[in-house]
């Protein structure tokens, strides 16, 4: 069984260069696309930049969005480590969000960490389904996680939130109410007055560090990597490969679930009636551009978080914020085909580095 990560990442011998080149190229193509359709591309990119980095407010928004993307990106990256392609972070995220919104309503001490844990469990269980189906029923995880996404979206947003779990209809907010508001004690504390930056960002960075430590420095992490590199070989070496795959998918789902909890506990404070996140799908882009490592994923999450935050200001020049999706998709397209850059990279390396003796 070929290593999924090897198939995704090897052709560029230096993946961080490949990713940086792909990101740069995607921004250039977006710029050109804006210019040729008659927009003021310089002003557009100026707004994009100032919306992401221009002052405390924008920086807070960038960090806020990056923290969710770190978690969904890590979710996809951890699944890749055990050799699975988790397309299902979106479904796992909204289960986590729902669990956080439910637990967050309880009037108990320590409700905020409890809500985070509840979200991790809910997302983890949803991820575990795909892992279990893969190991025991041979169902390909790409198919099962796509199906599980849509099941989660319809069951939660089409049934549970507007139905059994809906807030009692109060006069002003019948249709957009969503669920009952969570306890004030469950809110993530804001860290920087005047911005929406909250505890979620340091928490996400801490989790990224923990994931790196787990994967790079522990026995269990080594076994996960071994299973991802070759399930049969790992099995022959005495590693219970099936169990490790299930564990990896459960952790993957839990990470996405915590990402959903950050959205609820940080900004929404209830499961809203209209909840279009896309963070789960963007997590795929983050993990791929980040090269599947924890540090790379965190870095890519900050770039895409800035893009998301800045894109809201594109409306000032009459461009829909979904322009960010275009740039992000281009980056993934370019990262997906490292062979595009291979000739260029080889030439650069030949020019800058002296030939290495064999």
């Amino acid at each position: 069984m070929p290593d999924l990560r090897a198939r995704l990442f090897t052709p560029a011998r230096d993946p961080s260069w490949g990713a940086a080149a792909a990101l740069l190229a995607s921004f250039v193509v977006s710029f050109v696309a804006m210019a040729v359709t008659g927009r003021d591309a310089v002003a557009g990119f100026g707004h994009l930049f100032s919306g992401a980095f221009g002052g405390p407010g924008p920086l807070g928004e960038t960090a806020l969005k990056a923290s969710i993307l770190i978690l969904t990106g890590l979710s996809v990256a951890v699944a890749l480590i055990v050799g699975l392609f988790n397309i299902g972070a979106e479904g796992q995220l909204i289960w986590g969000a729902l669990a956080a919104a439910m637990v967050g309503r309880l009037d108990v001490p320590g409700v905020m960490p409890l809500a985070l844990m509840g979200a991790a469990v809910a997302g983890g269980l949803w991820g575990l389904i795909a892992g279990w189906l893969k190991v025991h029923r041979g169902v390909h995880e790409v198919i099962s996680t796509i199906l599980l996404n849509w099941i989660a979206i319809h069951v939660i947003q089409g049934w549970l939130v507007p139905g059994p779990l809906a807030a009692a209809a109060s006069s002003a907010q019948v249709n957009v109410a969503g669920t009952e508001a969570i306890q004030r004690a469950a809110w993530l504390p804001r860290l920087w007055p005047g911005t929406r930056l909250d505890l979620g960002f340091p928490l996400a960075l801490l989790i990224a560090f923990a994931v790196w430590f787990l994967l790079a420095r522990t026995r269990r992490g080594f076994e996960w990597r071994a299973v991802g590199a070759g399930r049969d070989a790992a099995h022959a070496a005495g590693i219970p490969a099936g169990r490790r795959i299930c564990e990896g998918m459960a952790l993957s789902g839990a990470l996405a679930g915590v990402g959903g909890a950050l959205l609820i506990l940080g900004t929404e404070h209830r499961y809203p009636g209209v909840f279009r996140t896309g963070y789960g799908f963007d997590g795929i882009a983050v993990a791929l551009v980040g090269g599947g490592s924890a540090a790379g994923t965190a870095a890519a999450a900050v770039v895409f978080g800035a893009l998301r935050a800045g894109a809201t200001r594109l409306q000032l020049v009459g461009i829909h914020p979904s322009f960010a999706e275009l740039t992000q998709g281009l980056a993934v397209l370019l990262v997906a085909a490292p062979r595009l850059f291979q000739p260029l990279l080889t030439r650069l390396r030949a020019r800058s580095a002296p030939p290495v003796p064999p």
């Binding site: 198939r7 995704l8 052709p11 696309a33 359709t37 008659g38 927009r39 392609f85 397309i87 189906l133 029923r137 041979g138 169902v139 390909h140 790409v142 198919i143 099962s144 796509i146 199906l147 599980l148 996404n149 849509w150 099941i151 319809h154 069951v155 939660i156 947003q157 089409g158 049934w159 549970l160 507007p162 139905g163 059994p164 799908f281 795929i284 882009a285 791929l288 009459g318 461009i319 829909h320 979904s322 322009f323 960010a324 999706e325 275009l326 740039t327 992000q328 998709g329 281009l330 993934v332 397209l333 990262v335 997906a336 085909a337 062979r339 595009l340």
Partner: protein
């Protein structure tokens, strides 16, 4: 009952596109994006030319153009086919929204587009085509030399290559054909049913078509049958929510989840031969041995 045919047509075309690509050995997660390009291209072409038929052709071409990117990346540059499809969906979402705003100055809907003529039952020709095309496709895939070659490159490309089949050009052609079909599926939504483009199109129908491909076990008739079954579930749901006040019970979400849940159950229980083509998703390396 009348609704089923209308609901099914976009799914049928897109699902057939999925079957064509995957039987040739190229995974196509990008159906959703191809449908989106098709829906928008058809509306734009129809508005620009005044003829819905030219619009339909534009829709097919737009789907093919999107598929061309998928083919180029996954075949020429051997990108991972799942990643390429995901990226295509992201690009389709962003680019089409951007074009909608650039060309028509709206982020919600396009201006009304000339729609295909309807018969007295309210169906356009596309709805009836959705009944006929799967049968033709089935006969072509199972009974002609070209169909045999497609199946061969999807099951064992190296064996096909030793018999003189040019694997990569044939796969590229199938991916492009898949884009045409998915584009027509998208066009069915815009110039076939609604008579304009809506920024939310195709609203997950590409993924439902993908589920139909799997539910239908990668066969044209199976996938089309699954598309009709899913469309029927959708029609029943709308009927119930209109008549039984099921909207109060909020059962519509459960009904919408049903096709996906059933597909998952069928896969989990391994009912029948639910096996993808052997070389589905495996990049073809002419120098490789397997």
């Amino acid at each position: 009952m009348n609704l089923v045919l209308d609901f099914a047509a976009p799914l049928v075309f897109a699902a057939l596109g999925g079957v064509l690509s995957e039987r040739a050995g190229v995974v196509n997660i990008g159906l959703e994006g191809m449908m989106r390009f098709g829906a928008f291209g058809a509306a734009a072409g129809s508005i620009a030319s005044g003829s819905p038929w030219i619009g339909l052709a534009c829709g097919g071409l737009a789907g093919a153009a999107a598929a061309g990117v998928h083919a180029l990346l996954s075949l020429r540059f051997r990108a991972n086919q799942v990643v390429s499809g995901i990226a295509l969906n992201l690009v389709a979402f962003g680019l089409v929204t951007y074009l909608l705003q650039s060309i028509f100055g709206s982020s919600g809907v396009s201006p009304p587009a000339p729609a295909l003529p309807r018969d007295r039952f309210g169906h356009s020709a596309l709805a009836y085509a959705a009944l006929v095309v799967p049968v033709i496709f089935h006969l072509w895939l199972s009974g002609t030399p070209a169909g045999l070659r497609v199946r061969a490159v999807g099951e064992h490309p190296h064996a096909a290559a030793t018999l003189g089949v040019r694997v990569l050009p044939l796969r590229a052609a199938c991916v492009l054909g898949s884009g045409v079909l998915a584009g027509i599926g998208g066009a069915t939504l815009s110039v076939g049913i609604l008579g304009q483009f809506d920024a939310r199109m195709p609203a997950g129908q590409g993924f439902m078509a993908l589920a139909a491909v799997v539910f239908g076990k990668w066969t044209p008739l199976g996938a089309a049958g699954a598309a009709f079954f899913f469309a029927a579930a959708d029609a029943v749901q709308r009927h119930l929510s209109l008549t039984l006040h099921a909207a109060d019970l909020r059962l519509d979400g459960l009904f919408l989840a049903l096709p996906y849940a059933l597909t998952l159950v069928v896969l989990a229980l391994g009912i029948g031969r639910t096996r993808a083509p052997a070389a589905d998703g495996v990049p073809y390396d002419p120098e490789g041995r397997t």
